[in-house]
Symmetry: C2
Subunit: 197 residues, 2 copies
């Protein structure tokens, strides 16, 4: 069958781990909600009860918290083919501490909590899909959880550039500083130093 671009993208993402029949694909797609967010608008703000988990089909968003001083700490940039959301709030129905804001006009597919639970009943293979998706994410978060304490800011910047060469050019230096965990001023210094090398 012929699917629209965004649907092909999410089906391919899922096909990395499990095979679905045509019927299952259609069932799955019917459980998704299409969402558009214009640049600078929020998909989620601290205090919200998270209703969806998101798959990004177009654009770029930043996921961040604010500390007591109001400084943003960016935990990820989500671009095409990425999953984003606040799993803790999604699971527990407690208010989220996260903001998710579009840094470009973006398009997403959302799955609601009810449909997320439903999917495991309707297509049990999805337990396997999510088991493998989470297993992979876990590996990269375990690695990343050591970055902040074992690498200098310059090393973290170089690692980010190497791992996400396409994202570097789509975000501001200020947001990158918020991800690396330093001030924009020091980020500026590091970048000019690394470029000089």
């Amino acid at each position: 069958m012929n699917y629209k671009e965004s649907h092909t993208l999410i089906l391919n993402n899922i096909a990395r781990f499990i095979d679905l029949t045509e019927l299952e694909k259609q069932k799955y797609l019917s459980l998704l909600t299409e969402i558009e967010v214009k640049k600078k608008t929020f998909l989620m703000q601290a205090g919200d009860i998270t209703k969806y988990e998101y798959f990004i089909t177009k654009g770029c968003l930043k996921v961040y918290t604010l500390d007591e001083d109001g400084a943003p700490h960016i935990s990820m940039f989500a671009v095409e083919d990425y999953w984003a959301g606040d799993m803790a709030s999604f699971m527990t129905k407690e208010p989220t501490r996260y903001f998710i804001q579009a840094t470009e006009d973006s398009e997403l597919l959302g799955i609601s909590r009810a449909n997320y639970e439903l999917i495991f009943q309707e297509i049990p293979k999805f337990e396997r899909f999510y088991r493998m998706l989470y297993q992979r994410s876990l590996v990269s978060y375990i690695r990343r959880s050591n970055y902040g304490i074992s690498l200098t800011a310059e090393e973290r910047y170089i690692a980010f550039k190497k791992k996400y060469p396409k994202i570097v050019n789509r975000i501001t230096q200020k947001d990158l500083a918020g991800y690396i965990g330093i001030t924009p001023e020091f980020m500026s210094k590091i970048i000019s130093k690394v470029n000089r090398m």
Copy 2:
């Protein structure tokens, strides 16, 4: 049925997320290997191909990497009722970068890669168990991945003490420094400062 202590512990851990029949419990337990490690000995060293994932039934172990300067970065302390291992190496069969060393005489249950795959065929419910286990771990690693860059060393120490009050007293200050991501000297200063407050 009556199980030995270590088996009761792991069955209870699993029962948090899925229900197993007597037969399934026995099948599952038959796939596990009992392992003993004496204090200071290694369960895993960098370069090894990880053969098992572990569940700790007694004792305490530290999981760490060494940086280029030979300084240890501890990623977790694993005590009773915890899962440990190097999932990346376990999955990809590439050599691990981790060391796992017992800080007390310890007892573990190990599941081999072959049996891990087998279990999903024999008892598909385990997809759900691992999906939920990983989902939970992910939530805490996502949170922790921001700790290193958004909290000061003193704040990280206070957070650790609050989250793991029982572990603090079982490990050396030096190992705690390796977890917090600072030198043992600065750890000493922080502890005496926090205790004075």
